[in-house]
Symmetry: C2
Subunit: 272 residues, 2 copies
Protein backbone atom coordinates (compact mmCIF):
# COMPACT_ATOMS: atom_id res chain seq x y z
CA UNK A 1 0.00 0.00 0.00
CA UNK A 2 1.25 3.45 -1.00
CA UNK A 3 1.64 5.60 2.11
CA UNK A 4 1.35 8.65 -0.14
CA UNK A 5 -2.21 7.62 -1.15
CA UNK A 6 -5.17 9.67 0.11
CA UNK A 7 -7.57 8.78 2.92
CA UNK A 8 -11.18 8.26 1.79
CA UNK A 9 -13.96 9.86 3.86
CA UNK A 10 -17.66 9.55 3.22
CA UNK A 11 -20.96 10.77 4.58
CA UNK A 12 -24.56 11.07 3.37
CA UNK A 13 -23.88 14.76 2.70
CA UNK A 14 -22.08 17.69 4.26
CA UNK A 15 -22.15 16.57 7.90
CA UNK A 16 -18.99 14.49 7.55
CA UNK A 17 -17.08 17.67 6.74
CA UNK A 18 -16.93 18.27 10.51
CA UNK A 19 -14.89 15.04 10.69
CA UNK A 20 -12.78 16.01 7.66
CA UNK A 21 -12.06 19.35 9.33
CA UNK A 22 -10.75 17.60 12.44
CA UNK A 23 -8.58 15.25 10.33
CA UNK A 24 -7.13 18.23 8.43
CA UNK A 25 -6.38 19.93 11.76
CA UNK A 26 -4.78 16.89 13.41
CA UNK A 27 -3.00 15.27 10.45
CA UNK A 28 -2.45 18.10 7.95
CA UNK A 29 0.04 16.05 5.92
CA UNK A 30 -2.61 13.53 4.79
CA UNK A 31 -4.38 13.80 1.44
CA UNK A 32 -8.19 13.35 1.42
CA UNK A 33 -10.83 12.15 -1.02
CA UNK A 34 -14.27 13.08 0.35
CA UNK A 35 -17.57 11.75 -0.96
CA UNK A 36 -21.01 13.12 0.05
CA UNK A 37 -24.08 11.17 -1.11
CA UNK A 38 -26.20 14.28 -1.67
CA UNK A 39 -28.47 12.56 -4.23
CA UNK A 40 -29.71 10.04 -1.66
CA UNK A 41 -29.45 11.85 1.67
CA UNK A 42 -30.56 11.63 4.41
CA UNK A 43 -29.51 8.16 5.61
CA UNK A 44 -30.92 8.54 9.15
CA UNK A 45 -34.47 7.49 8.32
CA UNK A 46 -33.60 4.67 5.89
CA UNK A 47 -33.26 0.93 6.48
CA UNK A 48 -30.14 -1.02 7.37
CA UNK A 49 -30.12 -2.90 4.04
CA UNK A 50 -30.38 0.29 2.03
CA UNK A 51 -27.62 2.03 4.01
CA UNK A 52 -25.38 -1.03 3.54
CA UNK A 53 -26.03 -1.09 -0.23
CA UNK A 54 -25.28 2.64 -0.53
CA UNK A 55 -22.11 2.31 1.58
CA UNK A 56 -20.82 -0.55 -0.58
CA UNK A 57 -21.25 1.52 -3.74
CA UNK A 58 -19.37 4.42 -2.15
CA UNK A 59 -16.55 2.13 -1.02
CA UNK A 60 -16.24 0.80 -4.59
CA UNK A 61 -16.01 4.38 -5.86
CA UNK A 62 -13.42 5.37 -3.24
CA UNK A 63 -11.31 2.32 -4.12
CA UNK A 64 -11.09 3.61 -7.71
CA UNK A 65 -9.33 6.65 -6.18
CA UNK A 66 -6.72 4.34 -4.63
CA UNK A 67 -7.39 5.34 -1.04
CA UNK A 68 -5.24 3.69 1.64
CA UNK A 69 -7.87 3.83 4.40
CA UNK A 70 -11.52 4.80 4.77
CA UNK A 71 -13.33 6.85 7.41
CA UNK A 72 -17.09 6.36 7.62
CA UNK A 73 -17.88 9.91 8.78
CA UNK A 74 -21.59 9.25 9.21
CA UNK A 75 -23.09 7.83 12.37
CA UNK A 76 -25.95 6.02 10.62
CA UNK A 77 -23.61 4.34 8.12
CA UNK A 78 -21.20 3.50 10.96
CA UNK A 79 -24.08 2.01 12.97
CA UNK A 80 -25.49 -0.09 10.14
CA UNK A 81 -22.67 -0.86 7.73
CA UNK A 82 -19.27 -0.70 9.44
CA UNK A 83 -19.04 -4.42 10.33
CA UNK A 84 -19.97 -5.50 6.81
CA UNK A 85 -17.62 -3.07 5.11
CA UNK A 86 -14.73 -3.97 7.40
CA UNK A 87 -15.21 -7.68 6.74
CA UNK A 88 -15.16 -7.09 2.98
CA UNK A 89 -12.23 -4.71 2.91
CA UNK A 90 -8.48 -5.30 2.75
CA UNK A 91 -7.69 -1.72 3.76
CA UNK A 92 -8.47 -0.24 7.21
CA UNK A 93 -11.96 1.17 7.69
CA UNK A 94 -12.93 3.15 10.78
CA UNK A 95 -16.24 4.68 11.84
CA UNK A 96 -17.21 7.44 14.23
CA UNK A 97 -19.03 5.34 16.81
CA UNK A 98 -16.14 3.55 18.51
CA UNK A 99 -14.37 6.86 18.97
CA UNK A 100 -17.47 8.55 20.38
CA UNK A 101 -18.24 5.64 22.69
CA UNK A 102 -14.69 5.50 24.06
CA UNK A 103 -14.59 9.24 24.75
CA UNK A 104 -17.94 9.09 26.55
CA UNK A 105 -16.79 6.19 28.73
CA UNK A 106 -13.73 8.17 29.76
CA UNK A 107 -15.73 11.32 30.39
CA UNK A 108 -18.54 9.97 32.56
CA UNK A 109 -18.27 10.06 36.34
CA UNK A 110 -21.72 8.74 37.30
CA UNK A 111 -21.87 6.05 34.58
CA UNK A 112 -24.99 7.56 32.96
CA UNK A 113 -24.51 8.53 29.31
CA UNK A 114 -26.97 10.01 26.81
CA UNK A 115 -26.76 9.60 23.08
CA UNK A 116 -28.64 11.69 20.51
CA UNK A 117 -28.70 10.85 16.81
CA UNK A 118 -30.87 9.88 13.85
CA UNK A 119 -33.58 7.24 14.16
CA UNK A 120 -31.25 4.76 12.45
CA UNK A 121 -28.33 5.35 14.81
CA UNK A 122 -30.38 5.41 18.02
CA UNK A 123 -32.66 2.49 17.15
CA UNK A 124 -29.69 0.33 16.14
CA UNK A 125 -28.59 0.37 19.79
CA UNK A 126 -24.99 0.32 18.58
CA UNK A 127 -23.68 2.98 20.98
CA UNK A 128 -25.07 1.04 23.95
CA UNK A 129 -23.54 -2.18 22.66
CA UNK A 130 -20.07 -0.70 22.11
CA UNK A 131 -20.08 1.15 25.45
CA UNK A 132 -21.20 -1.94 27.37
CA UNK A 133 -18.33 -3.91 25.81
CA UNK A 134 -15.95 -1.28 27.15
CA UNK A 135 -17.69 -0.93 30.53
CA UNK A 136 -20.49 -3.41 31.24
CA UNK A 137 -22.19 -1.50 34.07
CA UNK A 138 -22.72 1.69 32.07
CA UNK A 139 -26.26 3.09 31.68
CA UNK A 140 -27.01 4.44 28.20
CA UNK A 141 -30.08 6.49 27.24
CA UNK A 142 -30.77 7.15 23.54
CA UNK A 143 -33.04 9.76 21.97
CA UNK A 144 -33.51 10.26 18.23
CA UNK A 145 -33.88 13.87 17.09
CA UNK A 146 -35.25 13.69 13.52
CA UNK A 147 -35.84 17.43 13.14
CA UNK A 148 -32.29 18.51 14.04
CA UNK A 149 -30.87 17.83 10.56
CA UNK A 150 -33.62 19.73 8.69
CA UNK A 151 -33.34 22.62 11.17
CA UNK A 152 -29.56 22.81 10.66
CA UNK A 153 -29.97 22.63 6.88
CA UNK A 154 -32.57 25.44 7.07
CA UNK A 155 -29.92 27.50 8.89
CA UNK A 156 -31.91 27.85 12.15
CA UNK A 157 -28.86 27.31 14.38
CA UNK A 158 -29.86 30.00 16.88
CA UNK A 159 -33.62 30.25 16.80
CA UNK A 160 -36.59 30.01 19.17
CA UNK A 161 -38.05 27.12 17.16
CA UNK A 162 -34.82 25.13 17.42
CA UNK A 163 -34.76 25.90 21.17
CA UNK A 164 -38.30 24.59 21.57
CA UNK A 165 -37.67 21.40 19.58
CA UNK A 166 -34.34 20.78 21.33
CA UNK A 167 -35.97 21.36 24.70
CA UNK A 168 -38.57 18.65 23.95
CA UNK A 169 -36.01 16.14 22.70
CA UNK A 170 -33.56 16.75 25.55
CA UNK A 171 -36.06 16.87 28.43
CA UNK A 172 -36.25 13.06 28.31
CA UNK A 173 -32.48 12.84 28.81
CA UNK A 174 -32.39 15.52 31.51
CA UNK A 175 -34.75 13.34 33.53
CA UNK A 176 -32.21 10.52 33.37
CA UNK A 177 -29.47 12.45 35.23
CA UNK A 178 -26.85 11.79 32.58
CA UNK A 179 -23.50 13.56 33.00
CA UNK A 180 -22.25 12.91 29.45
CA UNK A 181 -24.01 13.35 26.10
CA UNK A 182 -22.73 12.03 22.77
CA UNK A 183 -23.56 14.17 19.73
CA UNK A 184 -24.17 11.07 17.63
CA UNK A 185 -24.79 12.76 14.29
CA UNK A 186 -22.27 14.87 12.41
CA UNK A 187 -24.76 17.74 12.02
CA UNK A 188 -25.31 18.15 15.76
CA UNK A 189 -22.06 19.92 16.69
CA UNK A 190 -23.53 22.88 14.77
CA UNK A 191 -26.27 23.02 17.46
CA UNK A 192 -23.72 22.74 20.25
CA UNK A 193 -24.47 26.08 21.96
CA UNK A 194 -28.22 25.34 22.14
CA UNK A 195 -27.62 21.83 23.48
CA UNK A 196 -25.02 23.17 25.94
CA UNK A 197 -27.46 25.76 27.33
CA UNK A 198 -30.30 23.26 27.71
CA UNK A 199 -28.22 20.47 29.26
CA UNK A 200 -26.20 22.77 31.55
CA UNK A 201 -22.47 23.06 32.16
CA UNK A 202 -22.32 19.90 34.29
CA UNK A 203 -22.98 17.65 31.29
CA UNK A 204 -19.97 16.87 29.08
CA UNK A 205 -20.79 17.03 25.36
CA UNK A 206 -18.87 14.49 23.27
CA UNK A 207 -18.23 15.19 19.57
CA UNK A 208 -16.84 11.96 18.04
CA UNK A 209 -15.03 13.86 15.26
CA UNK A 210 -12.06 14.75 17.46
CA UNK A 211 -11.36 11.20 18.63
CA UNK A 212 -12.02 9.75 15.17
CA UNK A 213 -9.22 11.90 13.74
CA UNK A 214 -6.97 10.79 16.61
CA UNK A 215 -7.82 7.13 15.91
CA UNK A 216 -6.99 7.57 12.23
CA UNK A 217 -3.65 9.20 13.06
CA UNK A 218 -2.66 6.38 15.44
CA UNK A 219 -3.79 3.73 12.98
CA UNK A 220 -1.80 5.14 10.05
CA UNK A 221 1.27 5.60 12.24
CA UNK A 222 1.12 2.11 13.73
CA UNK A 223 0.94 0.56 10.26
CA UNK A 224 3.62 2.81 8.79
CA UNK A 225 1.04 4.18 6.43
CA UNK A 226 1.22 7.84 7.40
CA UNK A 227 2.16 10.22 4.65
CA UNK A 228 5.40 12.20 4.88
CA UNK A 229 5.00 15.96 4.56
CA UNK A 230 7.51 16.32 1.71
CA UNK A 231 6.16 13.57 -0.57
CA UNK A 232 5.23 14.99 -3.99
CA UNK A 233 1.82 14.22 -5.49
CA UNK A 234 -0.25 15.11 -8.51
CA UNK A 235 -3.57 16.97 -8.47
CA UNK A 236 -5.34 18.55 -5.49
CA UNK A 237 -4.48 17.60 -1.91
CA UNK A 238 -8.16 17.56 -0.96
CA UNK A 239 -10.64 16.24 -3.52
CA UNK A 240 -14.42 16.42 -3.17
CA UNK A 241 -17.08 14.32 -4.88
CA UNK A 242 -20.85 14.26 -4.50
CA UNK A 243 -23.77 12.53 -6.17
CA UNK A 244 -25.75 15.78 -6.61
CA UNK A 245 -25.58 19.58 -6.31
CA UNK A 246 -21.82 20.01 -6.53
CA UNK A 247 -21.83 23.81 -6.38
CA UNK A 248 -23.94 23.98 -3.25
CA UNK A 249 -21.56 21.50 -1.64
CA UNK A 250 -18.53 23.61 -2.59
CA UNK A 251 -20.05 26.65 -0.86
CA UNK A 252 -20.84 24.67 2.29
CA UNK A 253 -17.41 23.02 2.37
CA UNK A 254 -15.67 26.37 1.97
CA UNK A 255 -17.62 27.65 4.98
CA UNK A 256 -16.64 24.66 7.17
CA UNK A 257 -13.08 23.84 6.14
CA UNK A 258 -9.95 25.96 6.51
CA UNK A 259 -9.07 27.33 3.08
CA UNK A 260 -11.14 27.60 -0.06
CA UNK A 261 -12.61 24.51 -1.73
CA UNK A 262 -12.06 25.08 -5.44
CA UNK A 263 -14.11 22.35 -6.99
CA UNK A 264 -16.52 19.48 -6.26
CA UNK A 265 -17.09 16.84 -8.90
CA UNK A 266 -20.41 15.06 -9.39
CA UNK A 267 -20.42 11.31 -10.04
CA UNK A 268 -23.11 8.63 -10.58
CA UNK A 269 -22.48 6.62 -7.44
CA UNK A 270 -25.15 4.01 -8.25
CA UNK A 271 -23.00 2.87 -11.19
CA UNK A 272 -20.33 1.57 -8.80
Amino acid sequence: MDRNAPVGIFDSGVGGLTVAREIIRQIPEERIVYFGDTARLPYGSKSKDTVIRYSRQIIRFLRTMDVKAIVVACNTASAYALDVIQAESDIPVIGVINAGARTAIHATRNGRIGIIGTEGTVNSGIYTEVMRQLKPDIEVFGKSCPLFVPLVEEGLLHDSVTDEIASRYLSVLKGKYIDTLVLGCTHYPLLRSTIRRLMGEAVTLVNPAYETALELRELLKSRDMNRQEQMPFEGEKYQFFVSDLAEKFTDFATAILPGEVKETKQISVEDY
Copy 2:
Protein backbone atom coordinates in the same frame (compact mmCIF):
# COMPACT_ATOMS: atom_id res chain seq x y z
CA MET B 1 -53.42 -0.87 -25.03
CA ASP B 2 -55.36 -3.02 -22.57
CA ARG B 3 -58.06 -0.90 -20.92
CA ASN B 4 -58.06 -3.39 -18.07
CA ALA B 5 -54.42 -2.53 -17.26
CA PRO B 6 -53.61 -0.58 -14.08
CA VAL B 7 -52.72 3.09 -13.78
CA GLY B 8 -49.18 3.75 -12.52
CA ILE B 9 -48.72 6.42 -9.82
CA PHE B 10 -45.44 7.51 -8.32
CA ASP B 11 -44.05 9.86 -5.71
CA SER B 12 -40.84 10.27 -3.72
CA GLY B 13 -42.59 8.61 -0.80
CA VAL B 14 -45.98 8.60 0.91
CA GLY B 15 -47.16 12.09 -0.12
CA GLY B 16 -48.56 10.85 -3.43
CA LEU B 17 -51.00 8.66 -1.53
CA THR B 18 -53.17 11.77 -1.14
CA VAL B 19 -53.43 11.75 -4.95
CA ALA B 20 -54.03 7.98 -5.05
CA ARG B 21 -56.81 8.43 -2.47
CA GLU B 22 -58.55 10.96 -4.70
CA ILE B 23 -58.22 8.68 -7.75
CA ILE B 24 -59.70 5.77 -5.78
CA ARG B 25 -62.58 8.03 -4.72
CA GLN B 26 -63.31 9.43 -8.17
CA ILE B 27 -62.58 6.40 -10.39
CA PRO B 28 -63.01 3.38 -8.12
CA GLU B 29 -63.09 0.96 -11.06
CA GLU B 30 -59.45 1.62 -11.99
CA ARG B 31 -56.61 -0.62 -10.85
CA ILE B 32 -53.49 1.08 -9.45
CA VAL B 33 -49.77 0.31 -9.19
CA TYR B 34 -48.18 2.79 -6.76
CA PHE B 35 -44.45 3.34 -6.34
CA GLY B 36 -42.86 5.40 -3.53
CA ASP B 37 -39.12 6.10 -3.77
CA THR B 38 -38.53 5.84 -0.02
CA ALA B 39 -34.83 4.92 -0.41
CA ARG B 40 -34.02 8.24 -2.09
CA LEU B 41 -36.58 10.69 -0.70
CA PRO B 42 -36.92 13.62 -0.43
CA TYR B 43 -36.84 14.96 -3.99
CA GLY B 44 -37.60 18.59 -3.07
CA SER B 45 -34.01 19.60 -2.29
CA LYS B 46 -32.33 17.68 -5.13
CA SER B 47 -31.28 18.83 -8.60
CA LYS B 48 -33.30 18.70 -11.80
CA ASP B 49 -30.93 16.17 -13.41
CA THR B 50 -31.13 13.83 -10.44
CA VAL B 51 -34.93 14.02 -10.25
CA ILE B 52 -35.15 13.31 -14.00
CA ARG B 53 -32.82 10.28 -13.66
CA TYR B 54 -34.84 8.90 -10.73
CA SER B 55 -38.14 9.49 -12.56
CA ARG B 56 -36.90 7.65 -15.65
CA GLN B 57 -35.94 4.60 -13.56
CA ILE B 58 -39.37 4.58 -11.93
CA ILE B 59 -41.11 4.86 -15.31
CA ARG B 60 -39.09 1.86 -16.55
CA PHE B 61 -40.19 -0.10 -13.48
CA LEU B 62 -43.84 0.89 -13.89
CA ARG B 63 -43.75 -0.16 -17.55
CA THR B 64 -42.77 -3.67 -16.46
CA MET B 65 -46.13 -3.72 -14.64
CA ASP B 66 -47.89 -2.96 -17.95
CA VAL B 67 -49.50 0.26 -16.82
CA LYS B 68 -51.73 2.04 -19.35
CA ALA B 69 -51.09 5.58 -18.03
CA ILE B 70 -48.87 7.25 -15.45
CA VAL B 71 -49.60 9.91 -12.85
CA VAL B 72 -46.60 11.81 -11.49
CA ALA B 73 -48.04 12.40 -8.01
CA CYS B 74 -45.12 14.52 -6.83
CA ASN B 75 -44.87 18.24 -7.45
CA THR B 76 -41.06 18.29 -7.65
CA ALA B 77 -40.96 15.45 -10.20
CA SER B 78 -43.81 17.10 -12.13
CA ALA B 79 -41.90 20.40 -12.12
CA TYR B 80 -38.59 18.96 -13.24
CA ALA B 81 -39.28 15.80 -15.19
CA LEU B 82 -42.79 15.81 -16.71
CA ASP B 83 -41.81 17.30 -20.10
CA VAL B 84 -38.95 14.83 -20.53
CA ILE B 85 -40.99 11.81 -19.48
CA GLN B 86 -43.93 12.76 -21.70
CA ALA B 87 -41.65 13.17 -24.72
CA GLU B 88 -40.15 9.72 -24.16
CA SER B 89 -43.39 7.90 -23.46
CA ASP B 90 -45.95 6.28 -25.74
CA ILE B 91 -48.57 6.09 -22.99
CA PRO B 92 -50.23 9.14 -21.39
CA VAL B 93 -48.38 10.76 -18.50
CA ILE B 94 -49.93 13.49 -16.36
CA GLY B 95 -48.55 15.50 -13.47
CA VAL B 96 -50.12 17.44 -10.61
CA ILE B 97 -49.05 20.93 -11.64
CA ASN B 98 -51.32 21.57 -14.63
CA ALA B 99 -54.31 20.52 -12.57
CA GLY B 100 -53.31 22.73 -9.64
CA ALA B 101 -52.58 25.71 -11.87
CA ARG B 102 -55.90 25.41 -13.69
CA THR B 103 -57.89 25.20 -10.47
CA ALA B 104 -56.12 28.24 -9.04
CA ILE B 105 -56.80 30.30 -12.18
CA HIS B 106 -60.49 29.47 -11.93
CA ALA B 107 -60.59 30.21 -8.21
CA THR B 108 -58.88 33.61 -8.08
CA ARG B 109 -60.93 36.80 -8.20
CA ASN B 110 -58.18 39.40 -7.76
CA GLY B 111 -55.62 37.65 -9.98
CA ARG B 112 -53.08 37.23 -7.15
CA ILE B 113 -52.13 33.61 -6.46
CA GLY B 114 -49.66 32.14 -3.94
CA ILE B 115 -47.87 28.85 -4.33
CA ILE B 116 -46.10 26.97 -1.57
CA GLY B 117 -43.93 23.89 -2.21
CA THR B 118 -40.45 22.44 -1.98
CA GLU B 119 -37.39 24.42 -3.03
CA GLY B 120 -37.32 22.44 -6.28
CA THR B 121 -40.93 23.14 -7.19
CA VAL B 122 -40.91 26.81 -6.22
CA ASN B 123 -37.50 27.65 -7.69
CA SER B 124 -38.38 25.95 -10.99
CA GLY B 125 -40.98 28.68 -11.56
CA ILE B 126 -43.15 26.09 -13.28
CA TYR B 127 -46.44 27.08 -11.60
CA THR B 128 -45.95 30.70 -12.69
CA GLU B 129 -45.15 29.58 -16.23
CA VAL B 130 -48.19 27.32 -16.56
CA MET B 131 -50.56 29.86 -14.98
CA ARG B 132 -49.29 32.69 -17.22
CA GLN B 133 -49.92 30.52 -20.27
CA LEU B 134 -53.53 30.14 -19.13
CA LYS B 135 -53.94 33.76 -18.05
CA PRO B 136 -51.06 36.11 -18.92
CA ASP B 137 -51.90 38.93 -16.48
CA ILE B 138 -51.92 36.73 -13.37
CA GLU B 139 -49.58 37.60 -10.47
CA VAL B 140 -47.94 34.56 -8.86
CA PHE B 141 -45.98 34.58 -5.56
CA GLY B 142 -43.98 31.50 -4.60
CA LYS B 143 -42.59 30.53 -1.19
CA SER B 144 -40.67 27.35 -0.47
CA CYS B 145 -41.36 25.72 2.91
CA PRO B 146 -38.52 23.19 3.45
CA LEU B 147 -39.50 22.33 7.05
CA PHE B 148 -43.10 21.37 6.28
CA VAL B 149 -42.28 17.85 5.06
CA PRO B 150 -40.05 16.96 8.08
CA LEU B 151 -42.69 18.42 10.45
CA VAL B 152 -45.43 16.31 8.83
CA GLU B 153 -43.24 13.21 8.92
CA GLU B 154 -42.54 13.89 12.62
CA GLY B 155 -46.32 13.92 13.15
CA LEU B 156 -46.47 17.55 14.34
CA LEU B 157 -49.64 18.32 12.38
CA HIS B 158 -51.21 20.38 15.18
CA ASP B 159 -48.38 21.88 17.19
CA SER B 160 -47.12 25.27 18.34
CA VAL B 161 -43.81 24.73 16.53
CA THR B 162 -45.59 24.02 13.24
CA ASP B 163 -47.73 27.13 13.83
CA GLU B 164 -44.64 29.26 14.35
CA ILE B 165 -42.83 27.92 11.26
CA ALA B 166 -45.97 28.18 9.12
CA SER B 167 -46.55 31.72 10.35
CA ARG B 168 -43.04 32.73 9.21
CA TYR B 169 -43.37 31.07 5.81
CA LEU B 170 -46.85 32.40 5.13
CA SER B 171 -46.35 35.98 6.38
CA VAL B 172 -44.54 36.78 3.11
CA LEU B 173 -47.59 35.65 1.14
CA LYS B 174 -50.08 37.43 3.39
CA GLY B 175 -48.28 40.67 2.57
CA LYS B 176 -48.98 40.06 -1.13
CA TYR B 177 -52.79 40.10 -0.74
CA ILE B 178 -53.28 36.79 -2.53
CA ASP B 179 -56.80 35.36 -2.58
CA THR B 180 -55.80 31.82 -3.67
CA LEU B 181 -53.04 29.55 -2.40
CA VAL B 182 -51.88 26.35 -4.12
CA LEU B 183 -50.70 23.57 -1.77
CA GLY B 184 -47.91 22.64 -4.19
CA CYS B 185 -46.57 19.60 -2.34
CA THR B 186 -48.51 16.43 -1.65
CA HIS B 187 -47.63 16.55 2.07
CA TYR B 188 -49.15 19.98 2.61
CA PRO B 189 -52.87 19.05 2.61
CA LEU B 190 -52.07 17.36 5.95
CA LEU B 191 -51.30 20.87 7.33
CA ARG B 192 -54.46 22.30 5.83
CA SER B 193 -56.11 23.41 9.09
CA THR B 194 -53.00 25.32 10.22
CA ILE B 195 -52.63 26.98 6.83
CA ARG B 196 -56.35 27.76 6.71
CA ARG B 197 -56.23 29.46 10.13
CA LEU B 198 -53.16 31.54 9.29
CA MET B 199 -54.31 32.61 5.82
CA GLY B 200 -57.93 33.28 6.82
CA GLU B 201 -61.22 32.17 5.31
CA ALA B 202 -61.01 34.64 2.43
CA VAL B 203 -58.13 32.76 0.80
CA THR B 204 -59.05 29.70 -1.27
CA LEU B 205 -56.73 26.74 -0.69
CA VAL B 206 -56.13 24.61 -3.80
CA ASN B 207 -55.17 20.94 -3.43
CA PRO B 208 -54.14 19.69 -6.90
CA ALA B 209 -55.02 16.06 -6.05
CA TYR B 210 -58.72 16.55 -6.71
CA GLU B 211 -58.32 18.03 -10.18
CA THR B 212 -55.53 15.57 -11.07
CA ALA B 213 -57.93 12.66 -10.49
CA LEU B 214 -60.54 14.46 -12.58
CA GLU B 215 -58.01 14.98 -15.39
CA LEU B 216 -57.09 11.30 -15.31
CA ARG B 217 -60.73 10.25 -15.48
CA GLU B 218 -61.42 12.52 -18.48
CA LEU B 219 -58.26 11.39 -20.22
CA LEU B 220 -59.01 7.66 -19.88
CA LYS B 221 -62.61 8.19 -20.99
CA SER B 222 -61.72 10.30 -24.02
CA ARG B 223 -59.26 7.66 -25.22
CA ASP B 224 -61.57 4.73 -24.49
CA MET B 225 -59.04 3.47 -21.98
CA ASN B 226 -61.21 3.49 -18.87
CA ARG B 227 -61.63 0.16 -17.18
CA GLN B 228 -65.07 -1.44 -16.97
CA GLU B 229 -66.18 -2.34 -13.45
CA GLN B 230 -66.93 -5.99 -14.27
CA MET B 231 -63.63 -6.84 -16.02
CA PRO B 232 -61.91 -9.74 -14.27
CA PHE B 233 -58.26 -9.45 -13.28
CA GLU B 234 -55.60 -11.41 -11.45
CA GLY B 235 -53.88 -10.35 -8.25
CA GLU B 236 -54.60 -7.31 -6.08
CA LYS B 237 -56.54 -4.34 -7.39
CA TYR B 238 -54.15 -1.90 -5.70
CA GLN B 239 -50.48 -2.81 -5.63
CA PHE B 240 -47.81 -0.94 -3.68
CA PHE B 241 -44.05 -0.86 -4.24
CA VAL B 242 -41.30 1.09 -2.51
CA SER B 243 -37.51 1.23 -2.63
CA ASP B 244 -37.17 1.00 1.19
CA LEU B 245 -39.06 0.37 4.45
CA ALA B 246 -42.04 -1.51 3.05
CA GLU B 247 -43.72 -2.15 6.40
CA LYS B 248 -43.63 1.47 7.50
CA PHE B 249 -45.18 2.38 4.14
CA THR B 250 -47.96 -0.19 4.59
CA ASP B 251 -48.91 1.36 7.94
CA PHE B 252 -48.95 4.87 6.53
CA ALA B 253 -50.93 3.82 3.44
CA THR B 254 -53.52 2.04 5.57
CA ALA B 255 -53.99 5.26 7.56
CA ILE B 256 -54.49 7.38 4.43
CA LEU B 257 -56.41 5.11 2.03
CA PRO B 258 -59.88 3.65 2.40
CA GLY B 259 -59.51 -0.03 3.26
CA GLU B 260 -56.55 -1.94 4.54
CA VAL B 261 -53.31 -2.14 2.55
CA LYS B 262 -52.22 -5.75 2.87
CA GLU B 263 -48.73 -5.67 1.46
CA THR B 264 -46.03 -3.41 0.07
CA LYS B 265 -43.20 -4.92 -1.94
CA GLN B 266 -39.65 -3.57 -1.93
CA ILE B 267 -37.75 -3.35 -5.22
CA SER B 268 -34.28 -2.11 -6.29
CA VAL B 269 -35.40 0.80 -8.42
CA GLU B 270 -31.86 1.77 -9.43
CA ASP B 271 -31.63 -1.50 -11.39
CA TYR B 272 -34.25 -0.27 -13.86
